[in-house]
Symmetry: C2
Subunit: 482 residues, 2 copies
């Protein structure tokens, strides 16, 4: 294979971003298409990224006090129907088991699209008193939502996620928990994925089916489109009333619990690819890269080279750095291309000259820059420090891109033009569902979310032109979305 | 709640082992029944044990070179039918999705009972050359097998497991891999779960649907019954021929791959409970216990007590020991009972007298023994050392129980009597399927597995009395099984 063949096979990122995405996903072996339409196989390289995401996210979730559990995948169809908005939202996209063990089932089973209903069914049994609250659980599992149009990681019939579910005694505690998890997701995205997020509340139209309020983190892809990457819902008493989840309060009366749920999924993988990738392929932040460092020996048969790289690998691994020593029978150039495509943050090329000069020749994938440095007596510290710089730089770069693609608009024409040019638009909005729906059907532009800072900066809805009375308008972001 | 109320609620382990098991599972909050028949909810305490199992097992699997992946849960019905034995074995117990997204599906989808077929479908696409071999993958996922009679952890319609799948160039390598994983399972069971295993090959009747050979690890429960706790299959070329998985060998010809698969599941949780538990409830090995140590302050309001226990907790946690400081508003006796029922390996009771005497009062759950020791200047080392002793003692105890419940038998009557008295029977067996089937239908006794050491010790089949020619008989274990 010629040295640049890999990269030549990837579509142009500027002119065909969707094909670029698909090429990167398949050629880096992150994922492959499954045999059933809309399904995906996560291959070892992609799954290793997901494992790193899981491990970082799981630690944060547990730190809030939530504990992991596992609930059955099959939900009796009648459960779904107990909460009116919920069934309306999910019924059209569920997969249904109608027979099992050779027999027609007396009640059809829904393959979970989300687990609120089955979890509420158990919560009703487990919660008795205020002493049982808050009840905070999480699960990592697969869910199924039958979609017409699918793309690996972004929208697949089956995907992997974590879903947290909590019960509280008061509405204040539920809102606090909803916002706490939103903040966990934001912090995780910035510090682990190196992705700055738009954080805010969804419109009534875009909220979760069955929630009082939904908050989201949204990331800007390199084509200016938004990817909703995580949501946190304040469910109020909607499900607790439908499932009769009551507790005996300190005052001796029975009350319905206040509830939240929150989730992030393998969509985060899509965000990683589309925020950081470039023409050569993936660019992975060190915190989630399967290999943080790849070592490529140069003139490997020359005395001392293999000894040094082998020892370096062991030293780095012992310090907890994920490193791959690429001693395969291929040219260095071939290896450079493969690992660049696969987005390994740092490459060490090590040959006789480096040995002689006590130098490291390195390549940073984030900047696509080769550089040299004297070998430190503390190699793990030296490498860790570069990885930290890469992690930091990737976040800054993504933030600079994002900040340069936000436009503040005051009228419909500017709003539509700015979004079509690849921007997010920050604008004042009337909040009417019809306004939002008309915009979407005319232009495919949607409301994303409403940031915490709601200081008004115009008295006109930028979308429909309606005059806004004091306190009536909402600050919101508009964008096209995946 | 009275101090012994917990324990009084657990059925007698000697006279009603099945009810004892159910009581322990439910009362310790390891699991609860799901709303759909045959399903189970893994609650936080049970799931935490499973997470420890996963973490230890995953590390071992990765050390063999296998990498984690994720394949879709839905398998086209036609895939199942490609391997004749496989479809015969699994078709009666699959759950089937017939409509999704509001439409009848043109091809019905099987909810995976195991993933050989869908993985083979992808392997056929991924494998080209001998350079791609061995290909070794694993996945942690849920599987569904519709069962008539179910019990939490032992047999549930849905369960969690890991399934490994590997491809090799030669039959020797496939057999080597099959046995390597069997050994990983044995070592894991002994060193992590503290359960000694019967390791061997299954009979033709009992092997996996589609395998050339199946090997298992089997554990002896306290009622003398066997629990098959893990299996490793040599699939030969059965699936590679059905799915056309070929590679170009070094000699320039295309050949079908040789294949293995191997798995362990949440059944391991059932084994843990039934091997180690006692009348008070769970007894958990330190390596998988959610809390390895619980600290119960005595006379917590006396000066210095809370200070000491809080500091001890921090010191132990910093050393990686899983510890719970129980400062809830309950009596010490109530707490002792709860944590004994939940099987926490070591309890530290700490009060003013301990502070005064610089002593630790401790309780070992494995021996149900209280003891005291001077507080070491290196508390984590002191506690770790006790935990190691507990882990060791639990294995020895289980091994002694097992060894004292093995009988060597030479005829049918002795065999049946010995098994009915709660033993495993080691015997010479003719190997005929009819012999095995008759025994099972008459007595519910089954063949478990054939150990590696096949030195014959009789020339008669202990089951049917048939005379065995030289080299014809098999050394095998008989037992009743879960």
């Amino acid at each position: 294979m010629a040295e640049n063949e890999f990269v030549q096979e990837i579509a142009d990122i500027k002119s065909d971003f969707p094909q670029w995405y698909t090429d990167v996903v398949l050629k880096t072996e992150m994922a492959d298409y499954g045999p059933v339409k809309g399904t995906m196989v996560m291959r070892p390289y992609g799954y290793a990224v997901w494992e790193n995401i899981q491990s970082e996210m799981d630690r944060r979730i547990k730190a809030t006090g939530a504990k992991n559990t596992y609930f059955p995948i099959f939900i009796p169809y009648s459960f779904l129907a107990k909460e009116a908005d919920h069934v309306e939202g999910f019924a059209p996209e569920v997969a249904v088991v109608t027979y099992a063990g050779g027999e027609e089932l007396s009640e059809k089973l829904v393959v979970r699209p989300t687990s609120e209903t089955i979890i509420c069914n158990m919560f009703a049994k487990w919660v008795q008193s205020y002493r049982d609250l808050p009840m905070m659980i999480n699960q990592w599992c697969n869910v199924v939502r039958w979609e017409k149009t699918t793309r690996p990681f972004l929208r697949t019939s089956e995907f992997l996620w974590q879903e947290g579910h909590t019960l509280h005694a008061t509405p204040e505690e539920a809102e606090e928990e909803t916002l706490r998890m939103l903040e966990v997701y934001r912090e995780f995205s910035e510090n682990v994925l190196a992705i700055p997020m738009f954080v805010g509340r969804k419109s009534e139209k875009e909220k979760f089916a069955g929630a009082d309020a939904t908050y989201s983190i949204e990331a800007m892809m390199q084509d200016g489109k938004s990817l909703q990457a995580g949501t946190s819902h304040n469910l109020g008493q909607n499900f607790s009333k439908a499932f009769n989840i009551k507790f005996l309060d300190k005052d001796g009366t029975h009350k319905f619990c206040y509830q939240t749920s929150w989730g992030t999924s393998t969509r985060l993988m899509g965000a990683l690819i589309m925020v950081h990738g470039d023409q050569r392929g993936l660019v992975l932040p060190p915190k989630v890269a399967p290999y943080q460092v790849v070592i490529v020996p140069i003139a490997a048969k020359k005395a001392g080279v293999m000894e040094w790289v082998t020892k370096a690998k062991q030293t780095l691994e012992a310090a907890g750095i994920r490193v791959y020593l690429d001693d395969r029978d291929q040219t260095p150039g071939w290896k450079f291309n493969e690992w660049e495509m696969k987005g390994v943050p740092l490459r060490i090329e090590f040959g006789p000259k480096d040995l002689e000069n006590n130098n490291l020749t390195m390549f940073r994938r984030d900047k696509n820059e080769k550089f040299t440095a004297p070998i430190s007596s503390d190699l793990p510290a030296q490498i860790s420090s570069i990885l930290t710089e890469i992690q930091q730089y990737m976040l800054e770069k993504a933030r600079a891109f994002r900040d340069s693609h936000i436009r503040v608009c005051y009228n419909h024409e500017d709003l539509v033009n700015a979004v079509n040019e690849g921007n997010f638009v920050k604008a004042m909005w009337c909040g009417d569902r019809e306004c939002e729906e008309k915009l979407k059907s005319d232009t495919a532009i949607t409301t994303r979310n409403m940031p915490a800072d709601q200081t008004p900066f115009s008295d006109t809805c930028a979308c429909c032109g309606k005059k806004l009375d004091k306190g009536e308008g909402k600050v919101i972001y508009f964008a096209k979305a995946y």
